[in-house]
Assembly symmetry: C2
Homo-oligomer: 193 residues x 2
Protein backbone atom coordinates (compact mmCIF):
# COMPACT_ATOMS: atom_id res chain seq x y z
CA UNK A 1 0.00 0.00 0.00
CA UNK A 2 1.26 3.45 -0.85
CA UNK A 3 1.67 5.98 1.91
CA UNK A 4 -0.03 9.34 1.33
CA UNK A 5 3.32 11.06 0.92
CA UNK A 6 4.38 8.56 -1.70
CA UNK A 7 1.03 8.97 -3.52
CA UNK A 8 1.39 12.75 -3.61
CA UNK A 9 4.97 12.50 -4.85
CA UNK A 10 3.87 10.08 -7.56
CA UNK A 11 1.16 12.48 -8.72
CA UNK A 12 3.71 15.32 -8.88
CA UNK A 13 5.91 13.08 -11.04
CA UNK A 14 2.98 12.26 -13.34
CA UNK A 15 1.99 15.92 -13.69
CA UNK A 16 5.55 16.99 -14.51
CA UNK A 17 5.92 14.07 -16.92
CA UNK A 18 2.76 15.07 -18.80
CA UNK A 19 4.10 18.62 -19.21
CA UNK A 20 7.45 17.33 -20.47
CA UNK A 21 5.88 14.81 -22.86
CA UNK A 22 3.73 17.57 -24.30
CA UNK A 23 6.70 19.94 -24.64
CA UNK A 24 9.47 17.61 -25.83
CA UNK A 25 7.52 14.58 -27.02
CA UNK A 26 7.39 11.18 -25.30
CA UNK A 27 10.49 9.95 -27.15
CA UNK A 28 12.38 13.18 -26.44
CA UNK A 29 11.87 13.04 -22.66
CA UNK A 30 14.29 11.10 -20.44
CA UNK A 31 13.84 9.96 -16.84
CA UNK A 32 16.79 12.26 -16.10
CA UNK A 33 14.92 15.31 -17.54
CA UNK A 34 11.94 14.37 -15.44
CA UNK A 35 13.98 13.90 -12.25
CA UNK A 36 15.48 17.38 -12.82
CA UNK A 37 12.02 18.95 -13.12
CA UNK A 38 10.68 17.16 -10.05
CA UNK A 39 13.82 17.91 -8.00
CA UNK A 40 14.85 14.31 -7.38
CA UNK A 41 17.96 12.30 -8.23
CA UNK A 42 17.31 10.11 -11.28
CA UNK A 43 17.96 7.02 -9.13
CA UNK A 44 15.41 8.08 -6.47
CA UNK A 45 12.68 8.37 -9.11
CA UNK A 46 12.54 4.60 -9.27
CA UNK A 47 11.28 4.51 -5.67
CA UNK A 48 8.10 6.06 -6.99
CA UNK A 49 7.70 4.83 -10.51
CA UNK A 50 9.06 1.95 -12.62
CA UNK A 51 9.86 4.01 -15.70
CA UNK A 52 8.47 5.96 -18.63
CA UNK A 53 6.17 3.12 -19.73
CA UNK A 54 4.48 3.07 -16.34
CA UNK A 55 4.12 6.86 -16.33
CA UNK A 56 2.48 6.85 -19.78
CA UNK A 57 0.21 4.00 -18.70
CA UNK A 58 -0.92 5.79 -15.53
CA UNK A 59 -1.62 9.07 -17.37
CA UNK A 60 -3.57 7.39 -20.18
CA UNK A 61 -5.51 5.16 -17.79
CA UNK A 62 -6.47 8.08 -15.57
CA UNK A 63 -7.79 10.22 -18.44
CA UNK A 64 -9.58 7.30 -20.12
CA UNK A 65 -11.06 6.39 -16.71
CA UNK A 66 -12.50 9.89 -16.26
CA UNK A 67 -14.24 9.80 -19.65
CA UNK A 68 -15.60 6.29 -19.19
CA UNK A 69 -16.91 6.88 -15.68
CA UNK A 70 -18.54 10.21 -16.61
CA UNK A 71 -20.20 8.63 -19.63
CA UNK A 72 -21.46 5.84 -17.41
CA UNK A 73 -22.86 8.34 -14.85
CA UNK A 74 -24.51 10.40 -17.58
CA UNK A 75 -26.08 7.32 -19.16
CA UNK A 76 -27.79 6.57 -15.82
CA UNK A 77 -29.45 10.00 -15.48
CA UNK A 78 -33.01 10.84 -16.54
CA UNK A 79 -32.01 14.03 -18.39
CA UNK A 80 -32.81 14.85 -22.03
CA UNK A 81 -30.35 13.67 -24.68
CA UNK A 82 -29.36 17.29 -25.27
CA UNK A 83 -28.47 17.65 -21.58
CA UNK A 84 -26.48 14.41 -21.70
CA UNK A 85 -24.50 15.46 -24.76
CA UNK A 86 -23.98 18.90 -23.27
CA UNK A 87 -22.52 17.35 -20.10
CA UNK A 88 -20.02 15.36 -22.18
CA UNK A 89 -19.00 18.39 -24.26
CA UNK A 90 -18.44 20.40 -21.08
CA UNK A 91 -16.41 17.55 -19.59
CA UNK A 92 -14.12 17.50 -22.65
CA UNK A 93 -13.50 21.24 -22.62
CA UNK A 94 -12.95 21.43 -18.87
CA UNK A 95 -10.51 18.56 -18.88
CA UNK A 96 -8.66 20.17 -21.77
CA UNK A 97 -8.45 23.50 -19.96
CA UNK A 98 -7.71 22.13 -16.47
CA UNK A 99 -5.59 19.11 -17.34
CA UNK A 100 -4.17 20.16 -20.70
CA UNK A 101 -0.87 18.25 -20.59
CA UNK A 102 -2.38 14.93 -19.40
CA UNK A 103 -5.20 15.14 -21.98
CA UNK A 104 -2.69 15.93 -24.69
CA UNK A 105 -0.61 12.85 -23.72
CA UNK A 106 -3.73 10.66 -23.77
CA UNK A 107 -4.67 12.11 -27.20
CA UNK A 108 -1.28 11.80 -28.88
CA UNK A 109 1.21 9.59 -26.99
CA UNK A 110 -1.08 6.63 -26.30
CA UNK A 111 0.43 4.98 -29.42
CA UNK A 112 3.68 4.44 -27.48
CA UNK A 113 1.93 2.29 -24.84
CA UNK A 114 3.30 -1.26 -24.64
CA UNK A 115 0.93 -4.20 -24.96
CA UNK A 116 -1.44 -5.18 -23.38
CA UNK A 117 -2.02 -1.56 -22.26
CA UNK A 118 -2.15 -0.35 -25.87
CA UNK A 119 -5.05 -2.64 -26.73
CA UNK A 120 -6.80 -1.84 -23.44
CA UNK A 121 -6.53 1.88 -24.14
CA UNK A 122 -7.82 1.53 -27.71
CA UNK A 123 -10.72 -0.60 -26.47
CA UNK A 124 -11.58 1.96 -23.81
CA UNK A 125 -11.54 4.78 -26.36
CA UNK A 126 -13.67 2.80 -28.79
CA UNK A 127 -16.19 1.95 -26.10
CA UNK A 128 -16.36 5.63 -25.08
CA UNK A 129 -16.94 6.73 -28.69
CA UNK A 130 -19.60 4.05 -29.16
CA UNK A 131 -21.37 5.13 -25.98
CA UNK A 132 -21.28 8.77 -27.09
CA UNK A 133 -22.55 7.85 -30.58
CA UNK A 134 -25.36 5.84 -28.95
CA UNK A 135 -26.54 8.93 -27.05
CA UNK A 136 -26.61 10.85 -30.33
CA UNK A 137 -28.48 8.04 -32.07
CA UNK A 138 -31.03 7.74 -29.28
CA UNK A 139 -31.48 11.51 -29.33
CA UNK A 140 -32.26 11.31 -33.06
CA UNK A 141 -34.72 8.44 -32.51
CA UNK A 142 -36.38 10.36 -29.68
CA UNK A 143 -36.88 13.28 -32.10
CA UNK A 144 -34.64 15.62 -30.10
CA UNK A 145 -31.86 15.81 -32.70
CA UNK A 146 -31.96 16.30 -36.47
CA UNK A 147 -31.42 13.08 -38.48
CA UNK A 148 -27.65 13.25 -39.00
CA UNK A 149 -25.39 10.28 -39.52
CA UNK A 150 -24.32 9.58 -35.89
CA UNK A 151 -20.63 9.34 -36.87
CA UNK A 152 -20.71 12.76 -38.50
CA UNK A 153 -22.34 14.29 -35.42
CA UNK A 154 -19.95 12.49 -33.07
CA UNK A 155 -16.76 13.44 -34.92
CA UNK A 156 -17.90 17.02 -35.44
CA UNK A 157 -18.31 17.28 -31.67
CA UNK A 158 -15.08 15.47 -30.80
CA UNK A 159 -13.03 17.42 -33.34
CA UNK A 160 -14.36 20.76 -32.09
CA UNK A 161 -13.43 19.95 -28.50
CA UNK A 162 -10.08 18.36 -29.33
CA UNK A 163 -9.07 21.27 -31.54
CA UNK A 164 -9.31 23.54 -28.49
CA UNK A 165 -5.96 22.14 -27.39
CA UNK A 166 -4.31 23.42 -30.57
CA UNK A 167 -5.69 26.92 -30.86
CA UNK A 168 -6.97 28.09 -27.48
CA UNK A 169 -4.67 30.09 -25.20
CA UNK A 170 -6.31 31.44 -22.03
CA UNK A 171 -6.42 35.20 -21.48
CA UNK A 172 -6.48 36.47 -25.04
CA UNK A 173 -9.91 38.05 -24.88
CA UNK A 174 -11.75 34.75 -24.47
CA UNK A 175 -12.23 33.18 -21.04
CA UNK A 176 -12.44 29.42 -20.53
CA UNK A 177 -16.08 29.90 -19.52
CA UNK A 178 -17.01 31.81 -22.71
CA UNK A 179 -15.17 29.23 -24.79
CA UNK A 180 -17.12 26.42 -23.16
CA UNK A 181 -20.48 28.19 -23.45
CA UNK A 182 -19.96 29.16 -27.10
CA UNK A 183 -18.88 25.69 -28.20
CA UNK A 184 -21.86 24.17 -26.35
CA UNK A 185 -24.22 26.76 -27.90
CA UNK A 186 -22.98 26.06 -31.42
CA UNK A 187 -22.81 22.26 -31.21
CA UNK A 188 -26.12 21.73 -29.39
CA UNK A 189 -27.95 24.05 -31.75
CA UNK A 190 -26.32 22.16 -34.62
CA UNK A 191 -27.65 18.87 -33.27
CA UNK A 192 -31.15 20.05 -32.40
CA UNK A 193 -34.11 19.24 -34.61
CA UNK B 1 8.05 27.97 -70.75
CA UNK B 2 7.06 24.43 -69.97
CA UNK B 3 5.79 22.22 -72.73
CA UNK B 4 2.44 20.55 -72.09
CA UNK B 5 4.06 17.15 -71.77
CA UNK B 6 6.48 18.47 -69.20
CA UNK B 7 3.65 20.13 -67.28
CA UNK B 8 1.68 16.90 -67.17
CA UNK B 9 4.71 14.91 -66.04
CA UNK B 10 5.35 17.49 -63.32
CA UNK B 11 1.77 17.17 -62.06
CA UNK B 12 2.11 13.38 -61.96
CA UNK B 13 5.27 13.81 -59.90
CA UNK B 14 3.50 16.21 -57.50
CA UNK B 15 0.53 13.86 -57.09
CA UNK B 16 2.72 10.86 -56.39
CA UNK B 17 4.87 12.93 -54.02
CA UNK B 18 1.80 14.01 -52.03
CA UNK B 19 0.75 10.37 -51.64
CA UNK B 20 4.24 9.36 -50.51
CA UNK B 21 4.60 12.28 -48.07
CA UNK B 22 1.25 11.37 -46.53
CA UNK B 23 2.21 7.68 -46.28
CA UNK B 24 5.85 7.83 -45.21
CA UNK B 25 6.17 11.44 -43.98
CA UNK B 26 8.05 14.23 -45.71
CA UNK B 27 11.33 13.32 -43.99
CA UNK B 28 10.87 9.62 -44.74
CA UNK B 29 10.41 10.08 -48.51
CA UNK B 30 13.45 10.20 -50.81
CA UNK B 31 13.66 11.42 -54.40
CA UNK B 32 14.60 7.82 -55.20
CA UNK B 33 11.32 6.51 -53.68
CA UNK B 34 9.45 9.08 -55.69
CA UNK B 35 11.27 8.27 -58.95
CA UNK B 36 10.40 4.60 -58.41
CA UNK B 37 6.69 5.40 -57.98
CA UNK B 38 6.61 7.67 -61.02
CA UNK B 39 8.58 5.22 -63.15
CA UNK B 40 11.57 7.47 -63.85
CA UNK B 41 15.27 7.19 -63.12
CA UNK B 42 16.18 9.28 -60.06
CA UNK B 43 18.48 11.40 -62.25
CA UNK B 44 15.73 12.13 -64.84
CA UNK B 45 13.47 13.49 -62.11
CA UNK B 46 15.63 16.58 -61.96
CA UNK B 47 14.58 17.47 -65.52
CA UNK B 48 11.15 18.14 -64.08
CA UNK B 49 11.69 19.31 -60.55
CA UNK B 50 14.56 20.75 -58.51
CA UNK B 51 14.04 18.59 -55.46
CA UNK B 52 11.85 17.83 -52.45
CA UNK B 53 11.77 21.46 -51.30
CA UNK B 54 10.34 22.57 -54.62
CA UNK B 55 7.76 19.77 -54.59
CA UNK B 56 6.58 20.71 -51.11
CA UNK B 57 6.46 24.36 -52.11
CA UNK B 58 4.35 23.67 -55.22
CA UNK B 59 1.89 21.45 -53.35
CA UNK B 60 1.43 23.92 -50.47
CA UNK B 61 1.15 26.91 -52.82
CA UNK B 62 -1.44 25.18 -54.97
CA UNK B 63 -3.70 24.23 -52.05
CA UNK B 64 -3.32 27.62 -50.33
CA UNK B 65 -4.06 29.28 -53.70
CA UNK B 66 -7.33 27.35 -54.08
CA UNK B 67 -8.55 28.43 -50.63
CA UNK B 68 -7.52 32.05 -51.06
CA UNK B 69 -9.04 32.43 -54.53
CA UNK B 70 -12.30 30.74 -53.52
CA UNK B 71 -12.59 32.95 -50.46
CA UNK B 72 -11.99 35.96 -52.68
CA UNK B 73 -14.68 34.85 -55.17
CA UNK B 74 -17.15 34.16 -52.37
CA UNK B 75 -16.51 37.55 -50.75
CA UNK B 76 -17.52 39.22 -54.03
CA UNK B 77 -20.91 37.48 -54.29
CA UNK B 78 -24.23 38.94 -53.10
CA UNK B 79 -25.31 35.79 -51.27
CA UNK B 80 -26.32 35.56 -47.59
CA UNK B 81 -23.55 34.97 -45.04
CA UNK B 82 -24.95 31.49 -44.45
CA UNK B 83 -24.56 30.72 -48.17
CA UNK B 84 -21.00 32.09 -48.14
CA UNK B 85 -19.97 30.03 -45.14
CA UNK B 86 -21.69 26.99 -46.62
CA UNK B 87 -19.68 27.38 -49.83
CA UNK B 88 -16.42 27.43 -47.86
CA UNK B 89 -17.37 24.39 -45.78
CA UNK B 90 -18.24 22.47 -48.96
CA UNK B 91 -14.94 23.53 -50.55
CA UNK B 92 -12.99 22.17 -47.56
CA UNK B 93 -14.75 18.82 -47.57
CA UNK B 94 -14.57 18.38 -51.35
CA UNK B 95 -10.88 19.20 -51.45
CA UNK B 96 -10.29 16.76 -48.61
CA UNK B 97 -12.20 14.00 -50.39
CA UNK B 98 -10.87 14.70 -53.92
CA UNK B 99 -7.34 15.82 -53.14
CA UNK B 100 -6.74 14.07 -49.83
CA UNK B 101 -2.96 13.63 -50.07
CA UNK B 102 -2.20 17.20 -51.24
CA UNK B 103 -4.49 18.70 -48.56
CA UNK B 104 -2.87 16.51 -45.94
CA UNK B 105 0.61 17.72 -47.01
CA UNK B 106 -0.55 21.35 -46.87
CA UNK B 107 -2.06 20.72 -43.41
CA UNK B 108 0.88 18.92 -41.84
CA UNK B 109 4.13 19.20 -43.84
CA UNK B 110 4.09 22.97 -44.48
CA UNK B 111 6.35 23.29 -41.44
CA UNK B 112 9.22 21.79 -43.48
CA UNK B 113 9.03 24.60 -46.07
CA UNK B 114 12.26 26.62 -46.33
CA UNK B 115 12.17 30.41 -45.97
CA UNK B 116 10.81 32.62 -47.46
CA UNK B 117 8.12 30.11 -48.53
CA UNK B 118 7.41 29.16 -44.92
CA UNK B 119 6.51 32.74 -43.98
CA UNK B 120 4.51 33.19 -47.19
CA UNK B 121 2.51 30.05 -46.48
CA UNK B 122 1.81 31.05 -42.87
CA UNK B 123 0.74 34.52 -44.02
CA UNK B 124 -1.58 33.03 -46.65
CA UNK B 125 -3.16 30.72 -44.07
CA UNK B 126 -3.58 33.56 -41.57
CA UNK B 127 -5.17 35.78 -44.20
CA UNK B 128 -7.56 32.97 -45.16
CA UNK B 129 -8.56 32.39 -41.54
CA UNK B 130 -9.05 36.12 -40.99
CA UNK B 131 -11.23 36.38 -44.11
CA UNK B 132 -13.30 33.40 -42.99
CA UNK B 133 -13.64 34.85 -39.45
CA UNK B 134 -14.72 38.18 -41.01
CA UNK B 135 -17.59 36.44 -42.84
CA UNK B 136 -18.70 34.92 -39.54
CA UNK B 137 -18.45 38.26 -37.77
CA UNK B 138 -20.38 40.08 -40.47
CA UNK B 139 -23.02 37.34 -40.37
CA UNK B 140 -23.39 37.91 -36.62
CA UNK B 141 -23.65 41.69 -37.10
CA UNK B 142 -26.22 41.19 -39.85
CA UNK B 143 -28.29 39.14 -37.38
CA UNK B 144 -27.99 35.96 -39.45
CA UNK B 145 -25.80 34.08 -36.95
CA UNK B 146 -26.05 33.72 -33.19
CA UNK B 147 -23.63 35.94 -31.23
CA UNK B 148 -20.71 33.53 -30.83
CA UNK B 149 -17.10 34.54 -30.42
CA UNK B 150 -15.94 34.48 -34.09
CA UNK B 151 -12.82 32.44 -33.23
CA UNK B 152 -14.91 29.75 -31.57
CA UNK B 153 -17.22 29.54 -34.59
CA UNK B 154 -14.28 29.56 -37.04
CA UNK B 155 -12.27 26.87 -35.28
CA UNK B 156 -15.31 24.68 -34.66
CA UNK B 157 -15.91 24.76 -38.42
CA UNK B 158 -12.27 24.28 -39.41
CA UNK B 159 -11.75 21.46 -36.92
CA UNK B 160 -14.85 19.62 -38.10
CA UNK B 161 -13.72 19.72 -41.73
CA UNK B 162 -10.05 18.95 -41.02
CA UNK B 163 -10.96 16.02 -38.84
CA UNK B 164 -12.61 14.38 -41.84
CA UNK B 165 -9.12 13.49 -43.05
CA UNK B 166 -8.49 11.44 -39.91
CA UNK B 167 -11.69 9.48 -39.55
CA UNK B 168 -13.53 9.34 -42.87
CA UNK B 169 -12.97 6.39 -45.19
CA UNK B 170 -15.19 6.33 -48.29
CA UNK B 171 -17.52 3.41 -48.79
CA UNK B 172 -18.26 2.41 -45.23
CA UNK B 173 -21.94 3.19 -45.24
CA UNK B 174 -21.44 6.95 -45.64
CA UNK B 175 -20.99 8.53 -49.07
CA UNK B 176 -18.92 11.67 -49.61
CA UNK B 177 -22.14 13.50 -50.49
CA UNK B 178 -23.94 12.50 -47.27
CA UNK B 179 -20.84 13.41 -45.29
CA UNK B 180 -20.74 16.85 -46.86
CA UNK B 181 -24.49 17.47 -46.45
CA UNK B 182 -24.55 16.33 -42.82
CA UNK B 183 -21.55 18.45 -41.78
CA UNK B 184 -23.08 21.47 -43.54
CA UNK B 185 -26.46 20.80 -41.88
CA UNK B 186 -24.93 20.57 -38.42
CA UNK B 187 -22.52 23.51 -38.68
CA UNK B 188 -24.90 25.96 -40.39
CA UNK B 189 -27.69 25.19 -37.96
CA UNK B 190 -25.15 25.66 -35.17
CA UNK B 191 -24.27 29.12 -36.49
CA UNK B 192 -27.81 30.31 -37.24
CA UNK B 193 -29.59 32.71 -34.95
Amino acid sequence: MLTTKKTIRRQVILDEAAKLFKEKGYGGTSMRDLAGNVGLEAASMYNYIKGKDEILELICQRIAGIYISQLHDIEQTEATYAAKVEALIRLHIRLMVEEGPAVSVANHDWKYLPEPQLTEFKDARKSYEQGFARLVEEGIQAGEFQPLHPSVALFTILSAVRWVELWYRPGRGLSAEELENDIVAMLLKGLAK
